[in-house]
């Protein structure tokens, strides 16, 4: 039976949502291959996560628990995943294109001497050959390339968060748990964590329901202050184009696009963003796109559901007033 594997990314017992997104697409791929979906979970004292993995559609979970796996380190995690893959021979292995997933994937693919495609945005099975078709942007998103790995197994890919949606949770769905014992020694890890400095403020861009984004056209830091106020009214986050980030108006954590975050909010508002391909690459999957720009030719209008030709500030100020009114704060 062919298996489609998803590496379950967890830190301190919290599963990264991208792993659920991947379980969803893995199920579709497994269906096309008449195969099964399996989650691969490594860590220390993480067994209580197994049920959750089943409830997002996994038929099997491979579990390796060891003290050395308490937090992510390249060498032991590569060893764990590679040894599992050598033993059980999955057809496909998917990982999130997060810092952790990318770091791990490069090592595992080398150990298994197989192909690895980074930052995939589309996954399907070729009906004729049964191979996995992996589509990804290349050259800064200017072109798309479909990659295959026909002669080697597993076929490996990293996928960005928010490319696929999280599947419906089935709380009662259960599968088979396979515990695997592997020897690890602390010295083997060769790297030790001395400290961890958490971010002061986490920007939850990828999973925000509303994003109020600004670009070069917003003109400065004060402009982003106004956008932040709108975002606050809606319980959303502020996004930005690369030029706005490079201008120092807002931090990199807010950047949307090819070299920033991929987002898919219910509503994405783009103020003073031209909408180059690199920016669109990160936001075109949004449910509804509202764009405000003075230039009728701006490419952002080509993907906007609602485009407004005009000055961003006028709209933003009027919108903020209207939102306050809606929520009962009369000025």
């Amino acid at each position: 039976m062919k298996e489609v594997w998803v590496f379950i990314e967890q830190e301190r017992g919290i599963i990264h949502p991208v792993s659920f997104e991947l379980l969803g697409i893995a199920k579709k791929l497994a269906l096309a291959l008449s195969g099964k979906v399996a989650g691969v979970l490594l860590g220390y004292q993480v067994e209580l996560l197994v049920e959750e993995i089943f409830s997002y559609g996994a038929d099997r979970v491979y579990l390796i628990e060891h003290e050395v796996l308490l937090y992510y380190r390249h060498i032991p995690y590569v060893k764990g995943v590679s040894e599992l893959a050598k033993k059980y021979q999955p057809e496909i292995l998917l990982l999130g294109a997060t810092p952790l997933g990318r770091d791990l994937a490069g090592g595992v693919a080398t150990q298994l001497e197989t192909g690895l495609t980074a930052d995939v945005t589309e996954l399907t099975i070729d009906k004729e050959t049964g191979h996995l078709l992996m589509t990804r942007p290349a050259y800064g998103g200017n072109i798309m390339a479909t990659i295959v790995c026909s002669q080697h197994r597993p076929q490996m890919a990293t996928v960005r968060p928010r490319i696929f949606s999280i599947p419906e949770r089935e709380p009662l769905h259960r599968g088979e748990l396979i515990r695997e014992q592997i020897e690890f020694k602390e010295e083997e890890a060769k790297v030790k964590r001395l400290d961890f400095i958490p971010k002061e403020k986490m920007v939850n861009l990828e999973y925000a329901e509303v994003i109020v984004a600004g670009g070069k056209g917003v003109g400065g830091k004060e402009g982003f202050g106004l956008l932040q106020e709108i975002a606050n009214e809606l319980g959303g986050e502020v996004g930005a184009s690369r030029l706005a980030v490079e201008a120092g108006w807002i931090s990199y954590d807010h950047q949307v696009g090819q070299t920033g975050k991929t987002v898919r909010p219910k509503v994405y508002m783009a103020f003073g963003i031209s909408g180059t391909i690199q920016h669109r690459a990160g936001m075109q999957n949004s449910d509804y796109i509202i764009a405000v720009n003075t230039d009728p030719q701006a490419p952002i209008f080509k993907i906007a559901d609602l485009g407004i030709i005009g000055d961003w500030k006028k709209i933003a100020q009027a919108l903020l007033r209207a939102l306050k009114r809606e929520r009962g704060f009369y000025e």
């Binding site: 200017n142 479909t146 890890a189 509303v210 509202i290 209008f301 906007a304 030709i309």
Partner: protein
Amino acid sequence: MLNILVSIKQVPDTTNIRINPETGTLIREGIPSITNPYDVVALSLACELKQRYGGKITVITMGPPQAKASLREAVEFGADRIILLCDKKFAGADTLATSYTLAETIKFLQKDDPFDLLLFGKQAIDGDTAQVGPGVANRLNIPVITYVIKLQDIDLINKKIIVHRKIERGVEVLEASLPVLLTCEKELCATPFVPLEQVIKATKAEPEVFTAEGPVIFTREKLGLKGSPTQVKKVFTPELKKQGKIYNLEEVPLEKVIEEIIGVLKEKGLL
């Protein structure tokens, strides 16, 4: 004394890329080649470390003959030895074949004098894969730390290094034993000041050229296109979604537009 290896790649400057809309292929004419910006960070760090601790910098790149330009640039940063891996048999390599070719070359270069520090870019901006660094480290059986934003300390006596690594939730402070392979983020190091005589020296520098025939002994099947498990099946230009409603504020009153936005927010359950 530090023995440093830097692996760099020459890439097309993707800011200026244009695509032929009919064929979906890259218009190569007039696209300048640059040294991958993250690799420039790696070179900068090597330069700074050499100035501080003394030592030697070896720089390698795999690519076509024009990649020599990037190696000459490396000499400005104080590279002592520059090597171009250039052969038709290397061409068409994916990340697995690239990491094989680079790792075998590194093994050859460090036979008598092992490297302490191997510096790679976080990723190359043409493919954005970030796979080659971890791949090489695995083949050399040494630790790798990706996304390094700060080098806090190097202890040359105990052969240890402390670095800061950027991850999603914050910054990890990690200690590793040397040798170690680091992949460099932009923040890691600013471009250093380069003395004029080094710039002049760079213009005259000629790299050593290594081919598939030697001096490194390669397994042929693992090189280039032949050694690449992934193949590009199709290339196309992404299509744009159909256009929606457009209002021009010169024609439509502001209130109507705001009303419409509020309507959308309500419909999506956000208000």
